[in-house]
């Protein structure tokens, strides 16, 4: 049986492809991304290479009359693009997509945000709930686009009660098929740590995350939700489980070292990420568990151990 059409943005990303594979039997899928399709395996549906701010986007909405928009097309790593490019894709792109969703009668919208929007501070409460202020850009203006994207989606949610809008703020998503910053760090042989700081961290496995996104797209209500996997674990243990070696760096050189190494192309770790491996930034997912009857299936230990397995 076929349900409504689904548009997945950021379709070339590892997580988007996992979601698409899970939905291909039950939905007509269209994948969109500003990047070209990278691998031999085909997208399970129609794939369009397009900028989210391009006029062509409206044609796609008009042609397919989507039931659901899963917006995962955010430039996540600050190393991938400069601030202006990220602003264009993440903020203006999101605005265009949400405006089109409203105009062309989309019923369900899922926006894939990030826990980075809360900011990493020594003073955060231990378990951050969804009503905490988004402070990320106070310390790192380069995270302003992520905060703006989240705010824009929240405004959309409030202004369009007829559209079921779910904003997900997941913790560190890890998995062998992903290319995000934290996965790259954990997959590398030598992993930086801030000397004297070994924060507790949360992780969610790619499979659990894909499942959470699909649960959210079938929601019959709107809301903002933190999403986490099983367990809380010190960063050093996570590195150990993933098979890497921790390299402690004194805090007073860590930030400048990140900037210099990135500038000379020796590292792709963005400066802001250092705060997330310095201070615990833990989420409470009680709301998501309750509203979606969700429980993670893969433990953090299992997930980190599986990280180096190659699948494609």
């Amino acid at each position: 049986m076929r349900f409504g059409n689904v548009l997945i943005t950021g379709a070339t990303g590892g997580l988007a492809r996992l979601v698409a594979e899970r939905l291909k039997e039950s939905h007509e899928l269209v994948g969109a991304d500003a990047r070209s399709w990278p691998s031999q395996a085909a997208f399970p549906g129609e794939f369009v290479e397009v900028s989210y701010t391009h006029r062509k986007m409206a044609d796609i909405f008009r042609k397919h009359r989507f039931h659901t928009l899963i917006h995962m097309g955010r430039i996540r790593t600050t190393s991938e693009a400069n601030f202006h490019e990220r602003y264009n894709v993440n903020v203006l792109g999101t605005r265009n997509l949400l405006d089109l969703a409203k105009k062309y009668g989309v019923k369900n919208v899922v926006v894939f945000s990030t826990f980075h929007v809360y900011g990493a501070h020594g003073l955060n409460p231990m378990h951050i709930t969804e009503d905490q202020p988004l402070r990320a850009s106070q310390l790192f203006p380069e995270l302003q686009d992520a905060v703006d994207l989240d705010h824009y989606a929240t405004n959309f949610l409030l202004q369009n009660p007829g559209i079921h809008t779910t904003i997900l703020r997941p913790t560190n998503v890890v998995g062998s098929r992903l290319q995000n910053d934290i996965t790259k760090i954990l997959k590398s042989q030598y992993c930086p740590m801030v000397m004297g700081f070994d924060p507790m961290m949360q992780f969610i496995d790619q499979e659990d995350m894909a499942r959470a996104i699909i649960l959210a797209m079938r929601a019959n209500h709107s809301g903002i939700y933190n999403v986490i996997g099983e367990g809380v674990i010190p960063y050093s243990h996570a590195i150990e489980l993933a098979g890497g070696t921790p390299i402690p760096i004194p805090p007073f050189v860590a930030y400048s070292a990140a900037s210099i190494l990135k500038a000379v192309g020796m590292s792709r770790i963005p400066k802001h990420l250092i705060d997330y491996i310095r201070y615990p930034t833990l989420l409470s997912d009680e709301r998501f568990r309750k509203d979606f009857n969700y429980a993670p299936l893969i433990s953090c230990v299992e997930s980190l151990k599986n990280l180096r397995h190659l699948e494609n």
């Binding site: 020594g122 409460p125 809380v232 433990s299």
Partner: protein, 287 residues
């Protein structure tokens, strides 16, 4: 490196803890995840190492004597102590008393000053020992999970007070009381006698403390004159006296005036117990 550290830790635990003490730690109610930590970052191995390392302070150095610990109810509770003595020995002793002598044994959750969270190594150590930054939300979450929270509502006003104010309770904050109302938790005042003489502050060198960005800097008969040696506390005998739990059955939205009255009741109960303890102790500070 990590392997060496784990081996050293294991040796400290084996050398420092008896079978009975290990059993007490094992019986403390904990909710551990697949990696062996609880959702607050508590690590039983770090707890065991810390207890093995510091139990001589409790048993031999301060020779702690606990009275009426059976008054501590099972499940959620807010334990309210008197603060003093410059360094937080009082919190450590109360938490150890719950573990060594409480039935069932439990790991008390101390509320740590916010600025501690920025200290390298120390912030993580506190967290692994189950001690949490003193944020209202953290405290409420812990109580809702039936944990025993240990608070010192005098804050730095209490710990930083000089010796002429010993055992005179300073003003109490009221945040803890609203949380007890919201979570339906009993309040257990606990009088700690002895620690306020362990580190007798004569003067608080406020301008230097301000320059260093720390809440206070005590000048004692031994510090800074003896350098780091001057930081060693005096071997006073410590007595920990648990009071009857106080159950407040009031609306959490009570006015500030009503809450202040309840706070004052806790403060007076605690001051009375302190006075009783001092009376019984007399001049025998060290024996």
């Amino acid at each position: 490196m990590a392997g060496m550290f784990a081996k050293l830790r294991q040796r400290i635990i084996e050398a420092g803890l008896s079978a009975d003490e290990l059993d007490r730690i094992a019986r403390a109610p904990l909710h551990l995840n697949s990696a062996g930590f609880d959702e607050w970052g508590l690590d039983p191995q770090t707890i065991k190492t810390a207890v093995a390392s510091f139990k001589w302070l409790y048993k031999s150095y301060f020779r702690v004597e606990t009275k009426n610990i059976d008054r501590l109810p099972k499940g959620r509770a807010v334990v309210v102590g008197n603060h003093g003595g410059q360094i937080p020995i009082d919190a450590m002793m109360v938490i150890l008393s719950m573990l060594f002598e409480g039935e069932p044994p439990r790991i008390g959750r101390g509320m740590v000053e916010r600025w501690v969270s920025s200290l390298p190594w120390i912030a993580d150590f506190y967290m692994r020992c189950g001690q949490i930054v003193g944020d209202q939300k953290n405290c409420k979450d812990l109580l809702e999970k039936d944990e025993t929270v240990v608070v010192f509502p005098e804050g730095v006003k209490g710990s930083g007070k000089t010796i002429e104010k010993k055992y005179q309770l300073q003003g109490f904050g009221s945040g803890f009381l609203r949380l007890t109302l919201e979570t339906g938790s009993p309040v257990v005042p606990v009088a700690i006698i002895g620690h306020e003489e362990a580190y007798p502050g004569l003067v608080d060198a406020k301008p230097i403390a301000k320059t260093l960005g720390i809440p206070y800097l005590p000048i004692t008969p031994l510090f800074p004159w003896l350098g780091f040696m001057g930081l060693v506390p005096l071997p006073t005998k410590i007595q920990i006296r648990y009071c009857e739990p106080i159950h407040f059955d009031a609306n959490p939205d009570a006015t500030d005036e009503e809450v202040r009255a309840m706070v004052e009741r806790v403060r007076m109960t605690l001051q009375k117990e302190i006075n009783q303890g001092l009376l019984e102790r007399g001049d025998r500070i060290y024996t």
